[in-house]
């Protein structure tokens, strides 16, 4: 519980207008896309690194938790005030500080919205590839803290692969720089990579230096429909085995197709069992050639239909199939657990088969789609929370799905992180010694357990 004097001190630091304690404001900063809800004691909107540092120093003196927050669009509760405390909203820090076209880097503040950044660099012929589904509203600070992914990661890598340096306020209030503006740099520990994906437990990110790429000249989109899941999976490994790395290899299973087709009647052929949405980018000549090669390579794999977009409008029409997935899912059941397991890409059909068995065992609809190119499958366990017992069954099913991914040398989460939602399962993936090493780092940087306490690691009782 935050004392009245702490609130007064917070107001002195960030200004009274930037401290909210009305219940209405607290409610509005107590949720995220997990749909879990908690009530913070105060919401603070700092306007500078110095203010953030001062808030953390105060927090250490008065021992209240601080929970950094960007857009609050995470799927695992990373930005939720699960133990009360102060929600620290960084969206006022929303400037693109510079785009350096000679060194192909950009420096931004954490509150910049991902898509706005992409559009700005693209105006200069540059490219920032990470494209989480939430890119129109998620913030870059949140993307770094959660190490966000997206469809284009199969070719370009995840957020972490574009972060060169950071300015960070440590949990105790010191401001440090990590990494820098050079690609090479081996002096000291790689704190930048440690902070990417640290879910706001090790520091508050206040500046980010990103690596940029030249913007590819063009892209080509193909929608391919297969008569079996194996055909689609074989297509993925065949394309990549033939040294073509598409920008995107999005996959939808039969259950997903049925959902979309039922609601939007997209004319998917009756014998279609799986869809791959394939996109290649690069020089115009090259991608024409690649598209033709891909079609040739996948034709023998039970290809039912192959649509190749000839222009941007046709491309958008093909993407529509993928974009309609989420809105269609609620026809199956009103609530969902959206998990994001990863397996080596050649094991995708194996994991889908195991998931089908889990679905039968628990009698819960599970819809799978996602980024087949890097083996990252969104496993959507569709339930109705109002049906007694269904939620419990879902948790058991999810644990088995995670175990299946791990058995195939995969991981529980490729993009969403642990936060609160996956805590109960992390022992499946991390050995006690691993957890101990991680907790030692946390303890060293945050001796008072101020910053985002109770996240990632289960709280010991």
């Amino acid at each position: 519980m935050l004392s009245a004097t702490s609130i007064e001190k917070l107001k002195k630091i960030v200004g009274a207008d930037n401290v909210a304690t009305d219940r209405q404001d607290l409610i509005c900063y107590g949720y995220d896309a997990t749909q879990m809800e908690f009530l913070p004691d105060a919401v603070v909107h700092p306007g500078s690194t110095a203010e953030i540092a001062a808030v953390l120093q105060l927090a250490n003196q008065e021992k209240f938790p601080v929970i950094p927050r960007g857009a609050g669009s995470g799927f695992t509760g990373g930005a939720l005030p699960s133990g009360g405390g102060v929600v620290l909203v960084v969206t006022r820090l929303n400037r693109i500080l510079r785009i350096d076209t000679e060194n192909l880097i950009a420096e931004v503040e954490p509150g910049v919205v991902t898509e706005q950044f992409q559009l700005e660099v693209e105006k200069l012929g540059l490219f920032y590839p990470p494209d989480p589904a939430s890119l129109k509203f998620s913030t870059l600070g949140g993307n770094v803290a959660e190490n966000a992914g997206g469809p284009r990661c199969v070719k370009y890598g995840v957020t972490r692969d574009f972060v060169m340096g950071l300015e960070v306020v440590l949990p105790t209030g010191e401001v440090i720089r990590t990494g820098g503006e050079t690609y090479k740099g081996v002096v000291g520990y790689d704190m930048t990579r440690l902070l990417c994906g640290s879910e706001g437990t090790l520091g508050v990110i206040t500046k980010i230096i990103f690596k940029l790429l030249p913007l590819p000249e063009a892209k080509k989109t193909m929608l391919t429909i297969f008569d079996s899941i194996d055909g689609a999976a074989k297509a993925v490994s065949t394309i990549i085995g033939n040294k073509i790395i598409p920008t995107t290899l999005e996959f939808m299973d039969y259950a997903t197709l049925q959902c979309v087709n039922k609601r939007f009647n997209l004319g998917i052929p009756a014998n279609g069992r799986a869809v791959l949405l394939i996109e290649v980018d690069g020089d115009r000549d090259l991608i024409e050639k690649q598209a033709a090669t891909i079609q040739e390579l996948i034709s023998p794999l039970g290809l039912v239909e192959c649509k190749i977009a000839q222009d941007a409008a046709e491309s958008e029409a093909l993407w529509k199939v993928r974009r309609l997935v989420s809105p269609s899912l609620r026809d199956v059941n009103p609530d969902k657990y959206n998990e994001d397991i990863v397996v080596p890409r050649s094991r995708v059909p194996d994991v889908i088969r195991v998931i089908e068995k889990i679905q039968q065992k628990y009698d819960i609809p599970i819809v799978n789609f996602g980024h087949a190119g890097d083996g990252n499958i969104h496993v959507n366990v569709m339930i109705d929370k109002e049906i007694p017992g269904m939620e419990e069954k879902a948790h058991q099913a999810i644990a088995e799905v995670f175990q299946a991914a791990l058995d195939l040398n995969g991981t529980m989460s490729g993009e969403h992180g642990v936060g609160l939602a996956k805590q109960p399962y992390i022992h499946l993936e991390l050995k006690p010694a691993q957890v101990a090493a991680m907790q030692a780092i946390k303890k060293a940087l945050d001796p008072n357990n101020i910053l985002n306490p109770g996240k990632m690691f289960p709280v010991k009782t």
Partner: protein
């Protein structure tokens, strides 16, 4: 009493929100205020807590619910199609029931229910002036100088028409036999401020041989009342309008005001129909016949090229929210493009709200003009001579914004562009 009898009606809709945050990308109010209570997701969370009874219909709830332009951008982009615009109106209704209407909205209700009050606007303004305003954030110094329900104090106001449109024409203007019969829902802004829009509509539909019927006793659509949660007034107006609109056999009910046709098409059946099931079937029948003027001209195959060569003019087009959210974006552009002499220069963000937002601009005039600033800048960047749009409310806001940005871009209704030649002849 529970907070939330009104909110009960939208309980199922509230459950659909998964708090994903997609609304943050599109909400003009969020862009202006930057804080979560201003965005759809926040308002839905608050409505859910109101239903649970753990917050009150107090100042903080009021402040949050007031920060919505009812533009529908969030609904359009929501993966689960949560109708936040309707939820906000219902929440405002609950607030109005608990707290009483704000003085402003009580006055709005009186004015929109009473045509003669509107007609003798200046006098009414003087009478109502002293009643004004409950102190709300950002409303320093507001005065009701003009008793049209959209209009706050600081803005540049379009001059009143010498003779309101509804008094200018007979109730039935016959066309050719076998051609469509159209009931014209004129709307307050067209009637009192922009009668030229009505004239353009008559010229264009007349040109197509349509019979145009202008029921004399038609009322305000009620949206300004809806915007304040005064759903009793809206119901009263809707009932009167139903009688007027049902009085003639017609193929279409047409309005050249995006807000009015939006009210008839969407908000009448969804808000009033759900609240008053006895009216639902009639409201639905009206809604199904309601069309936007440009949408209908396009559908009936108006060919502006017939009007012969026109002066070269570069025009940019603004999408009114209440047309865009109904998918009416191509039709006005295609009509403009086929008009001789017209060059259409698209602005950046033509689909973004102008910032008017019903009565939003009265309570949050500064934010309203902040939202408008990006719009004005985008319009000016096109180098267009004129801006066309399909909503008199947008026209007033855009003209105000452009004037404040020192621009001489002329603001006109799409129909005025299309009817240029025809009107010259008449």
């Amino acid at each position: 009493m529970n907070n939330s009898e009104a909110l009960k009606r939208v309980e199922q809709e509230l459950k659909k929100c998964v708090k994903c945050g997609a609304c943050r990308a599109n909400c003009p109010a969020f862009a202006a205020f930057g804080k979560e209570p201003a965005v759809a997701r926040g308002k839905i969370a608050l409505a859910q807590h109101l239903l649970k009874g753990d917050i009150e219909l107090d100042d903080a709830t009021y402040a949050a619910m007031s920060k919505c332009l009812l533009c529908g951008s969030c609904v359009e982009k929501c993966p689960n199609n949560v109708p936040t615009d309707e939820i906000v109106m219902v929440a405002r209704e609950a607030l109005a029931r608990r707290r009483g209407l704000t003085t402003f909205h009580a006055a709005v209700g009186q004015v929109i229910k009473n045509r003669s009050l509107m007609k003798f606007g200046a006098a009414a303004g003087r009478i109502l002036g002293p009643l004004f305003f409950r102190k709300v954030p950002e409303t320093s110094g507001l005065r009701l100088r003009f008793p049209l329900p959209f209009i706050g104090g600081k803005r540049h106001i379009p001059p009143l028409a010498k003779k309101p449109f509804l008094e200018r024409h007979p109730e039935v203007i016959p066309g050719e036999p076998g051609k469509p019969r159209i009931v014209f829902f004129v709307g307050c802004m067209t009637n009192f401020c922009y009668p030229q829009i009505g004239e353009a509509a008559l010229a264009l539909f007349g040109h197509l041989g349509c019979t145009v019927i202008i029921p004399k006793k038609q009322q305000c659509c009620g949206l300004p009342g809806m915007s304040g949660g005064d759903l009793d007034t809206v119901r009263e107006l809707a009932e009167k309008n139903l009688v007027e609109l049902e009085r003639y056999e017609a193929d279409y009910i047409m309005s050249a005001c995006a807000t009015c046709s939006g009210a008839l098409h969407k908000f009448y059946p969804n808000l009033i129909g759900k609240r008053h099931p006895e009216l639902a079937a009639r409201l639905k029948a009206i809604a199904e016949k309601t069309v936007d003027a440009a949408e209908l001209l396009h559908k009936l195959g108006l060919n502006p090229a017939e009007s012969g060569a026109g002066r070269e003019v570069k025009i940019t087009y603004h999408d009114p929210c209440h047309l865009r959210t109904r998918g009416i974006t191509k039709q006005p552009r295609e009509l403009l493009l086929s008009t001789p002499g017209v060059e259409l220069a698209e602005m950046e963000g033509a689909d973004r709200c102008c910032g008017l937002g019903g009565t939003f601009n009265v309570y949050h005039y500064e934010s309203s003009m902040q939202i408008n600033a990006a719009k004005s800048a985008a319009i000016i960047r096109t180098g267009a001579e004129a801006l066309a749009t399909g909503c008199p409310g947008c026209m007033m806001q855009l003209a105000d914004g452009l004037k404040q940005h020192g621009s001489s871009v002329k603001v006109i209704h799409t129909l005025e562009v299309l009817a240029r030649k025809l009107l010259q002849r008449h």
